[in-house]
Symmetry: C2
Subunit: 359 residues, 2 copies
DNA sequence: TTGTATGCGTTATCAG
DNA sequence: CTGATAACGCATACAA
């Protein structure tokens, strides 16, 4: 008995960091309550009197107690962690989604961890496994092209998955995205009907399963239905970054005249195409009318301001977050499939607003 | 004995998700080894024979075993998690840093969790606490303006902290950033010496402790030393986003002529100013020569391409990651302070490269 | 190279 | 509201 007491005195008195970290039991003793009570306080249970709660909190503060969430998660098999696995944080589109999701879910007591896969399958598998191992409560996933659908399905059995932005052939997995086909169609319609373009191109990644593929499909079907010409030269696949887009487009322009109308799979890609046009000497907007996708923050202020198919990041983020929450709470009887409307933001780059020159 | 056996048979046969999840013991039995061996396999210990390792892995696979990292972390008091707490993921600058850091640290076996504070003190405290509670191994932190230095210091006692981008008055906390003062000075020098600007302005957030403050100081000192005029009208504080910058600058231009040279605290802010100039009728670059900060990916392709003080995100990210790793491994005898060199990327917006017009 | 025993800090249960 | 007691699944000596 005396030896126990001595041990407790020992680490309280001298060393900066006591060898044995303070735990609930220590707090309980200091606050003169039971361990159970401390636990109730830490989990914000309503079962504890305000007066007691404050006493406990004060003791914890004074002792420098740090709640051990690993122990708790271990015990409960829950973590209050939700993963947000995206393809590329360097794209402001996903940055905005991350900000929205994080804000929403942290208000609900969850901790959102953002992971970047750079569209690398290994990274994605690594992230998913890690989340599983940490008993994450759910995950919002922008699946890499080439994802193993069976694996995603399997993960979804273990923890609720909500696919974001990119649909997969897995009916039992929830999906939140936008009406990409319609967006592509609307862009094509605008170029054809308002600007009377005949020769059209689609630029950017159209990998199978990607949003780009569906955008392209809507675009292509509309062009064909209107009797326009779809020029396949401009199908710059695997292009995501502005700099890639610029280089690829400049190269293409060396041998071909630009199409009358161009739809790009993202604003980032459109930026590169626009600048390539200018640097190749195509200074008139009517030389090549350009429409982007995403309508990110900078697009309205680009020169020329970019006409873009807008999908609301806030709406996307919030409804994905709500979906995963519902799934976690077991309120989902069947998978949710949500396609948000997209809307054409008409600006200068297609020739609608004032400007006549690109540069 | 027979009842135990029955229980084990029971959940293996029917239900989709067995009530009792499979653990190491089950794997051990299936692979006909001991629990300890399975543990060694899961932690990649070299102590186990290849042949045994494969046998165990195969059994784990077949049983659908998911390693319980919470239990492990609980046991070891380590998590192999490193936090990356940034102010705003919507800024591509931080997106690029996140990508770099994540790539580097995941190669070292760590899991990087990115958290967005939106420069909100509460969010920051929440994130830090959460990381502490989860026994994160370390954290890379872009501290909010107004951060409680004592608290950061305290956190640093509990888990290694590396300040990123924004310095704090806490000598015992490591810091990785760039030479902001010099960058501001270089931008000013360029405008004054090369372009003979006399009336100069600095636009963007210069909150105390921020990088902007130091950039501004370097800028101001240089302008004063050269006998130039620093026009305080342009000090748009609290401005971070492109759209904010645009609106603020347009308003200012209603009542004042632009300065001959303008340095902006980020490229994002410069974009807004540039477009505001154009929309207010200042079409010549010589009306107002603009220099940004960060040199993010889009800047080279903006119209006009943006002259910018470049700080390498890759260098910043990697050395911050290396620093926190060293601290975790106990290889740091004293805090690291690293200021990366910044470099002026000269392009059109200051009037150096070809273009003569802004739009 | 493998097996055995012990404890990590918390939550859940249940009777007071 | 409190107090006692049993898991939770794993890592790590230590022994073999």
């Amino acid at each position: 008995m005396s030896s126990e007491a001595q041990q407790h005195e020992a680490h309280d008195s001298l060393g900066r960091r006591p060898a044995r970290p303070v735990r609930m039991l220590d707090v309980a003793r200091a606050a003169d309550v039971s361990r159970a009570t401390v636990s109730l306080v830490m989990t914000n249970s309503p079962l504890v009197a305000d007066h007691t709660r404050e006493k406990v909190l004060k003791a914890a503060q004074e002792l420098g107690y740090v709640y051990n969430r690993n122990a708790a998660s271990f015990r409960t098999q829950r973590s209050y962690i939700i993963g947000l696995v995206v393809s590329d944080l360097r794209n402001p589109f996903f940055g905005e989604i991350a900000a929205t999701v994080q804000q929403f879910l942290s208000e609900q007591g969850y901790f959102v961890v953002v992971v970047n896969t750079l569209d690398n399958l290994e990274q994605q598998e690594h992230a998913l496994t890690r989340l599983l191992e940490s008993r994450a409560d759910g995950v919002l996933l922008v699946p890499c092209p080439g994802s193993d659908v069976a694996r995603i399905r399997e993960v979804n059995e273990l923890m609720p998955v909500v696919l974001l932005t990119r649909e997969l052939d897995a009916p039992e997995v929830s999906y939140v995205g936008s009406m990409d086909y319609d967006g592509g169609a609307a862009a094509a319609r605008h170029l054809i009907e308002v600007h009377e373009c005949r020769r059209l191109g689609f630029f950017g990644n159209t990998a199978p399963g990607s949003a780009g593929e569906k955008r392209f499909n809507g675009f292509r079907d509309t062009v064909e239905a209107a009797g326009g010409t779809l020029e396949p030269i401009w199908q710059g696949n695997h292009i995501e970054l502005t700099s890639q887009s610029y280089r690829a487009f400049r190269t293409l322009l060396e041998t071909s005249a630009p199409p009358e109308g161009l739809v790009c799979n993202s604003d980032n890609v459109a930026y590169g195409a626009l600048r390539a046009l200018r640097d190749s000497g195509f200074m008139q907007i009517s030389d090549c009318r350009v429409i982007g996708f995403d309508d990110v923050e900078q697009s309205a202020l680009w020169s020329p301001s970019l006409t873009s198919v807008s999908v609301s990041r806030a709406d996307l983020g919030v409804s994905a977050a709500q979906t995963v929450l519902a799934a976690i709470r077991g309120e989902l009887k069947q998978p949710v499939v949500l396609r948000h409307q997209s809307q054409l933001q008409v600006r200068e780059s297609c020739g609608c607003a004032m400007a006549g020159e690109i540069a």
